[in-house]
Amino acid sequence: MSGYAIDPCDQCEEMIQPFLDRELSEEERQVAESHLDGCDYCRKRYKFEERLRRYVRQAVTESMSPELKAKLAELRTPLI
């Protein structure tokens, strides 16, 4: 992931989603963290992406009804 021609903010943008997915290698994670520590532009956007992810997850989460839970338990093999 090294190279003189790569703009560090572009590189950081590419890494933010896999960073949040915990899919970066240790080395990549360190590159991203060290850039985020020193770059206000990227840090703001990183925080936004993190909050956006949390907002979507919380907003779309719907719990299973107790009735469905009971129906699933009824599907178990009866004990002899």
Partner: protein, 200 residues
């Protein structure tokens, strides 16, 4: 000292029953988490409930094919995904690939623009969006992309697990996530702008 054949058989049956009971309990303990993902892979609560019942019925029938020590939640979602396809709700196809011009920071930038260039507070701009906005924006994402988002962002699955559940290569999971998230942001941006900048 040796056991007779009937004793061996009885012991085997008892062990089998014990393993099955343990499997069923573990699978039921995961039902809430499986449902959260399933609910967003289909369009209605009724469909999700039907699919959950079919999934658990099949899982309990074929519990022996689960390899202990592997990811049971992923195994259950693999069954659920296959059943969803079998029922004809899903046609397996390559999703349309319209060009997407916007980058990853599209939503942030759009929200920043709509606050007249002031740096938006990350929490405040999201306050403009309601719970319904998120649900409808996610529903608007084409299902192939949405499934990848739901598994990784809602279900917390790794790229590898999502690839196995959806039976697609890991690289395809990554590209669907990439495009799906951008589509989701476009949908959210439309709703944020439609909701107006006056709701402070």
């Amino acid at each position: 000292m040796g056991e007779t054949a009937p004793e061996t058989e009885a012991r085997r049956l008892a062990e089998d029953a014990r393993d099955r009971v343990r499997f069923e309990e573990e699978a039921l303990d995961l039902a809430d988490q499986v449902y959260r993902v399933a609910r967003r892979m289909v369009s209605s609560r009724e469909e999700a409930e039907d699919l959950m019942q079919e999934t658990y019925a099949r899982a309990f029938r074929s519990w022996r094919s689960f390899q202990p020590g592997t990811n049971l939640r992923a195994w259950l979602l693999r069954i659920l995904t296959n059943l969803n396809i079998d029922r004809g709700r899903r046609v397996q196809r390559s999703p349309d690939m319209q060009p997407l011009e916007e980058g990853d920071y599209f939503l942030y930038n759009r929200l920043e623009e709509s606050t007249q260039g002031q740096n938006p507070d990350e929490e405040r701009v999201l306050e403009r969006l309601s719970q319904d906005d998120a649900v409808s924006a996610l529903s608007a994402v084409p299902h192939d992309f949405r499934d990848a988002i739901v598994l990784v962002d809602i279900g917390d699955f790794s790229y590898n697990d999502a690839a196995q559940i959806l039976d697609i290569p890991v690289g395809t999971v990554m590209s669907r996530l990439h495009r799906g998230r951008r589509i989701l942001k476009q949908e959210l941006a439309e709703r944020a702008v439609a909701d107006g900048g006056d709701s402070r």
